[in-house]
């Protein structure tokens, strides 16, 4: 079995994951990933059935074109791949869906956010897919910041402090971002799925798995009724309404009835760090301006 660290968990896996951080441990794993046969259906009372997925508080069954995934009790994933499926696709959907189910089953709070490290703590970037979370983290990495996490941060509430742990040391970027961010184009080998123009950038060398305090929160959005990039500090109530939309996999959160604990964590987060909303017009390359506004907040004296 391969041994890894990912999403704050010690993972023992039959499948090799270049995405996770290799991590030798002797204690019992938090999570085991195996290949094998999965149940045909979930039959427990109160099962919530959505499209291609069935969910209870302790079980999750998702039937996708590349594989069927079964997750139980927050400590077990079983994968049954389809005969012609490619390994990258099988891993991608496991990392983005089955893993989220593991976290929800364990009462963790995954937030849809990328993050970079500061001298003390982290700055996180929230927003829906396509909002620019990964691109922002990559651009800041180019400016000397270390990337903390891409796409997902797992929150831990401890009194008034809210800390987070990262997911795994890989950033996913669309092909056009490489040019916009001034990076060398990725290779075919680095595609996250064979027919998808999205690429993996690993950062295992600078990956830090220690929990970090959330110091700044930036909400990223784009719309077509504005002409230029704007930044606006948000008061707590408005911030809560915006932040709670960034729960990772709300379908799971609702089906597993975890709304209350998510909302409690987000309330804490709202009170723990200043929140800024950055809005940009669609369809223009506004990256430089967005990064400038963010660094003005992070380093006010420079």
């Amino acid at each position: 079995m391969h041994q890894y660290w990912g999403f704050g968990l010690l993972i023992s896996s039959e499948i090799e994951f270049p995405e996770f951080l290799p991590f030798a441990f002797t204690e019992a794993p938090d999570l085991t990933i195996n290949l094998g046969a999965v149940p045909a259906e979930l039959t427990a009372e109160g099962v919530v059935k959505k499209v291609k997925v069935s969910i209870t508080a302790t079980e999750y069954l998702q039937k996708l074109p590349v594989a069927t995934y079964y997750v139980a009790n927050g400590n077990q994933i079983i994968v049954e791949p389809k005969p012609d499926a490619d390994e990258k696709s099988i891993r991608l959907f496991l990392l983005s869906n089955a893993m989220a189910a593991v976290l929800h089953q364990r009462n963790s709070i995954p937030l849809h956010a990328s993050a970079v490290m500061l001298d003390e703590g982290i700055a996180i970037f929230c927003g829906p897919s396509g909002a620019g979370k990964s691109t922002t983290a990559t651009m800041l990495q180019q400016k000397g910041y270390k990337v903390f996490s891409d796409d997902v941060c797992v929150l831990k509430v401890d009194g008034d402090q809210v800390t987070a742990v990262p997911s795994y040391p890989m950033i996913k970027l669309w092909a056009d971002t490489f040019h916009k961010a001034g990076l060398d184009m990725a290779t075919e080998e680095e595609k996250i799925r064979p027919q998808l123009p999205k690429f993996a950038r690993f950062y295992h060398d600078e990956f830090d798995i220690l929990p970090k305090t959330v110091k700044y929160i930036f909400l990223l959005d784009s719309n077509n009724t504005i002409d230029e990039v704007s930044i606006k500090p948000l008061a707590s109530i408005a911030a809560f309404a915006q932040l709670q939309r960034n729960t990772y996999r709300p379908v799971q959160m609702n089906a597993m009835q975890k709304r209350n604990q998510h909302f409690a964590a987000i309330t804490r987060l709202t009170n723990a760090a200043p929140i800024y909303r950055i809005s940009r017009p669609l369809g223009e390359n506004t990256l430089t301006r967005v990064i400038e506004l963010i660094t003005n907040v992070l380093q006010p004296n420079e």
Partner: protein, 303 residues
Amino acid sequence: MNNGEATEQKKIVWLASYPKSGNTWFRAFLTALLNDGEIDINQMKTDGIFSSRFIFDNSTDLDSTYLYDEEVKDIIPEVFCDMAGWYLKKNLFIKIHDAYAFNTENNPIVPTEPTRCAVYFIRNPLDVVASFANHNNGTLDEAIHIMNKPNGSLARQKNNFNVNNQFRQLMFSWSGHVESWTAPEVPFPVLVLRYEDMLHNGLETFTKAVEFMGIEVEPGQVEKAIKASNFERLKEKEKEKGFGEKNIKSESFFRKGKSGGWKEELSAEQIRSVITHHKTVMEKYGYPTEMPEISTETSEQKG
């Protein structure tokens, strides 16, 4: 024709059309009808668009940006069955620009099970050209090219990118679109409404649609909604507050809202191209297909 009461299973009314054929105007009318004459064009009372990534992700627990377009089209019929299952509303009015097409599993992308009926909006393709070009911020010839090609599509992203808030929509050609939605094989009732009739014979046309969809109305309610959704009013509202559904590349969504503008907008060659490709369907729906007299001034090549 009245398609009766909405049943629990069959609550979706598809508002189907090629782009720029009166669909959004009709949604504004419905908004006024369901909202006592009040319209905020950025908060229509209809229930989204078939190609919405938001609706898809909400029903699937997936990040659909990781999917290939054919995977999306294989899964999407189930998404609207799911949506109809959990919405408490009696009616769901959903806009769609996709052709009535089939996925790789040979199922219609538009699911039959939750569908009550469809209203199909058709407009003289010669008038669609300039409006569609404006929508795409492209040239008239580019618009005609998309309308003429058998596999024309909307919101198509280059190189398999899949990040926009709408999925790619396969429309076929203009004629192919009309034929797909009006084919006898379509397993639910479809009412065809001509844009020109909505414009020139509003009360009768809108009343027919309201009856077809099975919406109960008070006397005078249809007239009030027609008045509230008058084209000039919608244009005015867009000017005041903008319109979120406008293509980012386009100046404005609501343009002229007229019929017959093509005589001033298109060159003889452009008119001939549209008529040659779409003659059969145009004639079927009462649009003239003889070449008009074009003065030398207007027959010059137009952008």
